[in-house]
Symmetry: D2
């Protein structure tokens, strides 16, 4: 690339929007030319996110007021449902990374079942590439529209796909007990996201009914070569960022936990953002906070034939905006790690 | 009972010791006559725990300085290992509730295997009753020495024992993913318990190697009628108090999640401290914080034949000092809820 | 009193309402006969506050549906503004403790200036007693309507009133830097109260414009005998409960910090809920959390002639519902500490 | 500069050491050639800080094992007291940024009084420059040894020095009420830094006796032109990072709060890391977390003649390691913002 990439961010008033602005601000090739937030149009981004105040950035506008002629890449961080039509209406010279769920499920019937209404842009969905970068790099490189994976699906699929693909674990009775920070619920003012309702406690939510289940199963089924159904139980935790997925699996006949560890280490040896920890080392979400890294740990269970696989990400970065920029880099032929090299902020 | 019960607390400088003092202070029949803390002997309890300052309580003493002649009940909140000999040396007119792990495992070989040394008081261990009150009330009532259950084992066994006892769930592939607050690690100054190392993150620890696993399996095996082995994976969370156990089970042939819910509701209908929530309602640790209550929730899984059982306790109360007082009440023939009627402190 | 006191709680769906329910549930003389929450009418309290589920309590009703004939005491935990007319309309046999700000300011002009509209029940306001219990016990005992003090004013006035009353500190340049937990903002779903917006940070708010300033100044002016104006700067902290007031004062000529400490110790020596800590000992909000206690510390400054006075309360208890019950006890001639003897829940 | 700057970090096993590694890792001109941690010598940094694992960095060594011949710059993050002799013994071709307090106080008697022993390297102290970069840029540029300011002194001096220098505020009765995150206490395993002892509460500590007081007064006295004594009261807060200084001042005759705001805005208009917020806007520590920025807010008080000045920093970055790198950049003639351009990580 010569020259800067001109970028529009749709939905800049949410947490994933703010993360895009934060990271693109220091991305050597990126220039933010438009940011939208319908209800805050006309205001500077610093009025919505004080930590972004005082920068040389355009004011917020409505989607209708974006001049698309000079835009190269659009990040779409709008709510689920409205996104389909917005993206379908964009000029085709604009490459799109969509952070909503709208283009993640390849099967329109599965979409309709879980989201309660028919998909509004079925043709575009066929074109969209599911952008779990480490798994689908070549397709992402060729895509015009990338559906950026959900946070839980990123944490669950990265360790499980290689294991299923290589038949190292059984595809029955996979348990994914996931723990998420509150930013996953977005910035909407909801009673359940209030400090006093979240701090100093934990609870499961959307038990056996969370919309990320079919997304996880889609990827695992592709890897296994046939339909896989999992238990996926998310929990809400008193922390802003981070997802830990504690995954309980039965190994295939004759396979050991060391084999799982070896397979994952080998599969991800050259991946800049995936770190398979030494055998029997537990990842901590705080050790990836603020970074695009994934940490994966593998343990043998005391119960014969079982293993425990743990993965940790920052839900707003590798689980959202960081992976989105990673996908943009791939789509544009830029170095994949450009603008994403920050190490975790700890403590 | 006429008159007050005279109580000694061994190990009053830890969190469970402080909780005993806090709750016994408002217990209508209790009088604290001795509190020990070897390194703080001579100081008032308020020097160790300012929230307990200014009360009419005796100063801390060493164990050797306790006058046992007037003591009716001894709560022992000492570290594992040293407890055995201390309790073995107490005069036999003293009833004992031991909060350490020293008398919990009935099998001396299992003890030696997990704790790394032979048990020092095997005869006394035979006499000791495992005090999961709702399960062993009659034995507790007749006991002189009660081994108070561990925090994780309390959270795991209360929902699982009735289900295994009634053959409603399979005894294979039970997964117990537990999340605990930091007070479970005690008040010792360890790097891993520092605020900066714990806040804003989560991680698993003692994976497949936690000492509460054999304690859980002991109770489940008794309920099932044969040896049961479980996956038990504890996680450390940024909260002071609370344990949530997320338990993943396969149901017996023909059994539904509603059946599990009905069985638990029925089993605990008359229990003052166990609340089985309406079907498909998730318990939150913050809704039992500061109380002796247990909340249990039951959900069907999307995966056929599977169910999810969730239980929440305050690890320092129902998981330690509260259950210890509950056991004392039972041992003395006092109303079981005496001094334990506080509702949860929320928010 | 023979028999139970029948109690109505108006506004039971907020945090102070829930605290009233929690504490009155274990109050030996209280019986809750009505709880209102207009938008949740018809539901059990457990639907609004799960930690209060399963108790033998009446369902929530609208205010209009309360049968006042059998009600002895009404706690009013409604929003500011609407309260005046509600209380003015109650039958006069009902004693009232109002937790809103509506009857706290004796001067209707000050009220109108800070609250933006004329007071709607000026006659009733004249009758109302400002219920800072330790300062106005006799008036509270004789009152039918008690205006329960605000949380910040409770923390600020208890240490300052005796010092001003005894002319030990100058009434100029009093700085009150206060830090509050988030529950002070109530349970309303506001962006500024979201977990992600509050955790891991601190900021001042309502700087030089908080409505508790005139309430504080009212009490200090009465103590000083002439108008006192203070700097009052509240800060929002990542904790659910607690207020710490750090108060910076200049001492009167010849007075030392020891004198302040002696005066406060002496003034509060017989008060069951006020604990003046040893000289140069700092109170911590966590050491009063969950209790009706106040802790006060006094330090000399390095700057000659200055002192630092620190006070800590639980904003929902001594700063709201606990003091309200304390006032009820006084109004009814019950022992003042009845139902309020819980020690702090720490950790 | 052509080529990389070779850097040694003494004391890499503490939080400020880890922050240096984190930031220097992405600094375009920096190459870390040595990291010391006497008790962890021989281990990789990832064994001490897992978030730094897997990087191409040298193993930890003892100070004695550092080969100084190729080292250009040394960051010294050792405990106070031992630092003096270590730095005095370094070869003089090494430029030094010292993060301890050892060279901050220009007056050896003040040092001896507050630190309890005579200074061990008085000559070197005369040479050392106090590196509050925005105030002493020219001296830093010429220095071989820079004493990096303390966290509280950075937060307090940046807003106050211009105001005193321009005689806009009185130098009497300055109150600095500061609130700090726990990382300021370092990574040592102390009871007072445990999660359970810090979360959900606040308290003042080192009241009128904190060692940062003379450091603050040194800078303010220089600005005022004569000795200034302040009230400085630090508080410990349940957050990892951040300092908020709430500063209460009396203005000089005829000066308004707008004047203070104008003066600070003007003074810092060209400073890349200092942001004076719009008049009457409160800074939040979370809006500078993870960045080298300072945010400053100015408010008029209701009390005539008084104003409130608030400043927020990340104590580990602008209050320690970030400012240290900023100073290195200045000392080497590199662009001052190099490697320091990250925006705050929020939420």
């Amino acid at each position: 690339m010569s020259g800067k990439v001109n970028i529009a961010i749709l939905g800049a008033s949410g947490y994933t929007g703010a993360e895009l602005v934060r990271m693109l601000w220091t991305h050597p090739q990126a220039r933010i030319v438009a940011m939208t937030a319908d209800r805050r149009a006309g205001q500077p981004i610093g009025a919505v996110f004080p930590q972004l105040g005082g920068l040389d950035l355009p004011d917020l506008v409505t989607i209708n007021d974006v001049d698309w002629s000079g835009v190269d890449v659009c990040f779409c961080a709008l709510p689920h449902g409205t996104t389909q039509e917005v993206i379908a209406g964009l000029p085709t010279h604009v490459k799109v990374v969509d952070l909503s769920a709208d283009f993640r499920l390849a099967d329109p019937e599965t979409y309709a079942q879980w989201y309660g209404h028919p998909h509004q842009a079925v043709e575009l969905q066929k074109e969209a590439v599911y952008g779990l970068t480490e798994i689908a790099r070549a397709q992402v490189a060729a895509a015009r529209v990338v559906a950026n994976p959900g946070c839980y699906p990123t944490a669950a699929q990265l360790p499980l796909i290689p294991l299923l693909d290589q038949k190292l674990v059984q595809d029955q009775d996979i348990i994914i007990d996931a723990k998420s920070g509150v930013s996953g619920a977005g910035r909407a003012a909801k009673e359940g996201s209030l400090f006093c309702e979240v701090t100093e406690g934990i609870h499961a939510y959307s038990v056996a009914s969370h919309r990320h289940a079919p997304e996880i199963e889609q990827g695992l089924s592709q890897a296994a070569g046939h339909p896989v159904m999992v238990n996926f139980t998310p929990h809400l935790m008193p922390m802003s960022r981070g997802i830990l997925a504690s995954i309980y699996v039965k190994m295939a006949e004759g396979v050991t936990a060391e084999d799982l560890h070896t397979a994952l280490s080998s599969r991800y040896a050259d991946e800049p953002f995936v770190r398979v920890l030494p055998f029997k080392t537990a990842p901590q979400t705080r050790h990836v906070r603020g970074s695009n890294f994934v940490q994966i740990g593998v343990f043998p269970d005391r119960v014969p034939g079982r293993a425990i696989v743990l993965s940790a990400i920052d839900n707003l970065i590798k689980g959202a905006s960081g992976q989105a920029i990673q996908n943009m880099n791939v789509m544009l032929g830029l170095p994949e790690t450009m603008g994403l090299q920050n190490l975790a902020l700890f403590p």
